[in-house]
C-alpha cells in the first residue's frame, strides 16, 4: 500500500482524472473531497459491503423458501391496515 502524508487542503492525484482533497480534520474524522469521472463508482466501503453481501445472499435463495415466503408475505400483507 502506498502511504502518503497530507496537510489540510492538500491533494492527491490518481491517474489523469481523479483528485482527492483533504477538506477537513475533526478529531478522529477526516472529510475528503473526491473528483472523478462519473464512470467510476465511489462508495463508502461499509455501504458497498452491505449491499454486496445482500446481493450474494439473495443469489443463494432456494425456490422452496421463496415459495413459502411468498405465501407468508401475501397472507400477512393482505391483513394489514
Amino acid at each position: 500500500m502506498l502511504i502518503l502524508t497530507r496537510k489540510l487542503g492538500e491533494r492527491i492525484n490518481i491517474g489523469d482524472d481523479i483528485v482527492i482533497t483533504l477538506l477537513e480534520i475533526k478529531g478522529a474524522q477526516v472529510k475528503l473531497g473526491i473528483e472523478a469521472p462519473k464512470s467510476i463508482s465511489i462508495h463508502r466501503q461499509e455501504i458497498y459491503e452491505r449491499i454486496r453481501t445482500e446481493n450474494l445472499e439473495s443469489s443463494h435463495v432456494n425456490e422452496l423458501d421463496l415459495a413459502r415466503a411468498a405465501t407468508l408475505f401475501s397472507s400477512i400483507t393482505s391483513n394489514r391496515n
Binding site: 452491505r50 449491499i51 445482500e54 446481493n55 432456494n62 411468498a70 407468508l72 400483507t77 391483513n79
Partner: protein
C-alpha cells in the same frame, strides 16, 4: 431469444425484455444483462435472472408493497446514467433485493439501501447505492407479531 437458467430451464423471451446494467450488480459487476421473471402468478417476488450466467438470479420485489412511502433520491442516478428527461413514473420502475435465509422464510428481509432502478425506455437498469439514507439493508418484510398472529 432463449435464455438458459438453472432454476427454470430454458426460457424464451423477446430481446426487448433484456435489461442492460452498465455497472452490473454490486459484487457481480461482470454480469451486465438481466431479465425479470415472475416467480409464480400473483407472487410478490420476482427473479432477477442473469442472461449471461444461468445459475445467477437474485430475488427482488416491489418496495411499495410493504413501504408505500419508500423514497430514493434519483437525481444523481439520472445524471450518471444519462437518463435526463426519463424521470417520469411510467418510465422508471423500482425494485429491492430480497434475502430469504435458508429454511427460515419468515425471516425474509429487503435491502433498502441498494434498490434497482429500471428504465423501461432505454431498457437499462442500475443498482443505486444509497449512502445517506434513513433505510437499512435488512428490513424485515414481516414482523414477529405478524408471524405469531398468523400461526
Amino acid at each position: 431469444m432463449k435464455i438458459k437458467t438453472t432454476r427454470f430451464g430454458t426460457v424464451t423471451l423477446g430481446e426487448e425484455k433484456i435489461l442492460n446494467m452498465p455497472f452490473g450488480m454490486l459484487g457481480f459487476q461482470d454480469k451486465k444483462r438481466f431479465v425479470i421473471l415472475q416467480n409464480k402468478e400473483n407472487s410478490p417476488f420476482f427473479w432477477y435472472q442473469s442472461v449471461d450466467d444461468p445459475s445467477l438470479a437474485f430475488v427482488i420485489t416491489n418496495p411499495f408493497l410493504f413501504m408505500p412511502d419508500y423514497e430514493v433520491d434519483i437525481e444523481n442516478v439520472l445524471i450518471e446514467m444519462s437518463w435526463n428527461g426519463n424521470s417520469k413514473n411510467n418510465i422508471l420502475e423500482l425494485y429491492v433485493v430480497v434475502n430469504i435465509p435458508k429454511g427460515a422464510p419468515e425471516k425474509m428481509t429487503a435491502n433498502l439501501i441498494g434498490p434497482i432502478l429500471v428504465n423501461n425506455k432505454t431498457r437499462q437498469a442500475v443498482q443505486v447505492v444509497m449512502s445517506n439514507s434513513p433505510y437499512i439493508h435488512n428490513f424485515p418484510l414481516i414482523t414477529q407479531d405478524e408471524i405469531e398472529s398468523e400461526s
